[in-house]
């Protein structure tokens, strides 16, 4: 019996999902797209189209051959914000009135791969550059060296009204300021993460806790309010962030991070979930030796976790970005959780 004609239903494709770069074409479901796709986004309403572009916040520049290596909105107790950033030529600038004003020089290596981190305690913004003792910005004026007994650190963050610094000299520890609420009280106390030989690579807040990451482990740090001030325990996992910059807390309290296996993980409560297998091959095809130079950001109004990394083999800059929509979990054809 011959096959009846006109008997094949339409192949209708809607409710677009995400890129799928897994092993073969046959593993794509109809809502997904091939990894050759570029510069498109899927919309929660069920469509696919071009991404939006980008535009400079001002036509001013700090130099056409200068890279920005960190930027921060420093909000004072008065509600006024200062916009502060560090550059590859070792300078700290403030953005105000459509212009960049120089705050400090002599920071960083200097190099495109410098990473400045910023955090604040009351009206002091602490700036680390990985090379020098931390700097500070206050409510007005130029930047200066942070007072007190400080340490050279490559990242810092605030937690429980303490300023925390990651020392370059002893990278398996995290130091915190001596006095609650005083970032200039000195850094002589620390928490040890010497269970294995690896350095602490990143840290991030998760609700009222701090998550500390190493290449193959994650820890949760809690404030006790008594002696000992902080309680540490290991989160069951064998993975961690590549650096401080890629750890981000989502609005619903999960922590996202890029790991050394080119995958993206989500820490939801105590569960570490692999959520980036659909994009993992794309990241793996990039310049592997520069994965630890990746940076990330959150675009909250679109629920996007954004990773900028090095794709081109001879590049020394982050030249490509991938974006994950953390608000729309879906199952791939094997039933695994993915995000567009």
């Amino acid at each position: 019996m011959s096959t009846p004609r006109n008997n094949i239903p339409f192949q209708r494709v809607d409710n677009f999902r995400g890129v799928n770069a897994k092993d073969s074409q046959e593993n794509l479901v109809s809502g997904e797209w091939q990894k050759d796709s570029i510069n498109i986004i899927s919309d929660p309403q069920g469509s696919i189209g071009t991404r939006k572009g980008f535009s400079p916040i001002t036509t001013a520049t700090v130099g056409t051959a200068v890279a920005w290596c960190g930027f921060y909105q420093f909000t004072l107790s008065t509600g006024v914000s200062r916009f502060i950033g560090g550059t590859s030529d070792g300078k700290l600038y403030e953005y105000a009135s459509s212009a960049y004003a120089l705050l400090k020089t002599g920071m960083g290596t200097p190099d495109d791969d410098d990473r400045y981190t910023f955090h604040q305690l009351n009206d002091i913004c602490i700036v680390t550059d990985g090379v020098n003792k931390p700097s500070k910005c206050t409510s007005t004026g130029s930047a200066a060296t942070l007072a007190g007994t400080t340490i050279t650190a490559d990242f810092g963050l605030e937690a429980w009204r303490y300023s925390w610094l990651h020392p370059t000299a002893d990278p398996r520890t995290l130091f915190y300021c001596n006095t609650l609420g005083d970032a200039e009280s000195g850094y002589e106390s620390f928490i040890n993460f010497d269970e294995d030989p690896y350095s602490v690579t990143g840290a991030c807040r998760q609700g009222d806790d701090m998550i500390v990451g190493k290449p193959f482990s994650l820890f949760r740090l809690r404030y006790t309010g008594t002696a000992d001030l902080f309680a540490k325990y290991r989160i069951p996992s064998k993975v961690g962030p590549v650096n401080f910059q890629v750890m981000k807390e989502t609005p619903s309290g999960q922590v996202l991070f890029l790991a050394g296996d080119f995958n993206v993980y989500m820490l939801a409560g105590e569960s570490v979930i692999s959520v980036g297998e659909n994009i993992q091959p794309v990241l793996r095809e990039g310049k592997n030796t520069r994965l630890n130079k990746a940076v990330s950001g959150m675009l909250y109004d679109r629920s996007w976790y954004w990773i900028s990394y090095t794709d081109t083999s001879n590049s020394t800059t982050n030249d490509q970005s991938v974006v994950m929509d953390y608000s729309r979990p879906y199952q791939d054809k094997w039933g695994k959780l993915q995000y567009p």
Binding site: T3, R5, I8, P9, F10, Q11, R12, V13, D14, Q25, E26, L28, V29, S30, E32, W33, Q34, D36, S37, I38, N39, I40, D43, G46, S47, I48, G49, T50, R51, K52, G53, F54, S55, P56, I57, A60, V62, T64, A65, V66, A67, W68, G70, F71, Q73, S81, F83, G85, T87, Q245, V295, G297, M298, L299, Y300, D301, R302, W306, S308, T317
Partner: protein
């Protein structure tokens, strides 16, 4: 990268390598430059990759995004020699015409079927097909709601 909160709205600002800070997700170009936007579909075999088919039509629905053209390419059996392209101007599509209840007689027109589903001929033979949507020009935005491919079964070769 920095998450910014200004005037009640969140932004993502990213630094570049030319001394500027860029606001992401803004406008339809990259600081005045075009970017290539490409969607490449899965390979559609209609459930039987061994059976030859005639891919007759592409029905699709899109948002009115302006007078530029979207290039639609069909690739049959993964064979680059089969690749053919058509274009569709993005000024049609959903929203191009007023809908009933808001129209002014003598001024507006009723929505036609074409505003919902645009119907283009494919007329290609093969076992499976891929669809590619693509633009390369400045400000050439597009947004596809859905698409359908029609096929007739032929025989196994």
């Amino acid at each position: 990268m920095a998450e910014i909160f200004r005037n009640g709205k969140t932004f993502l600002w990213t630094g570049d390598y030319t001394g500027q800070i860029q606001e992401q997700d803004s406008g339809t170009n990259d600081n005045g430059s075009a970017f290539v936007a490409t969607y490449k579909s899965p390979r559609f075999s209609f459930g039987d990759p061994t059976l030859n088919k005639k891919f007759t039509k592409l029905l699709f629905s899109y948002e009115n995004k302006g007078s530029h053209s979207l290039t639609i390419t069909f690739l049959i059996n993964d064979n680059a020699g089969t690749q053919r392209s058509i274009t569709e101007v993005m000024s049609g599509g959903s929203g191009a015409s007023a809908i009933f209840g808001q129209a002014v007689f003598g001024t507006d027109v009723f929505t036609s079927e074409a505003d919902v589903d645009v119907n283009r001929h494919i007329d290609r033979l093969g076992r499976f097909i891929e669809i590619i949507f693509n633009t390369i020009g400045v400000d050439e935005a597009w947004n596809i709601f859905n698409y359908s491919i029609l096929a007739k079964p032929l025989k196994r070769s």
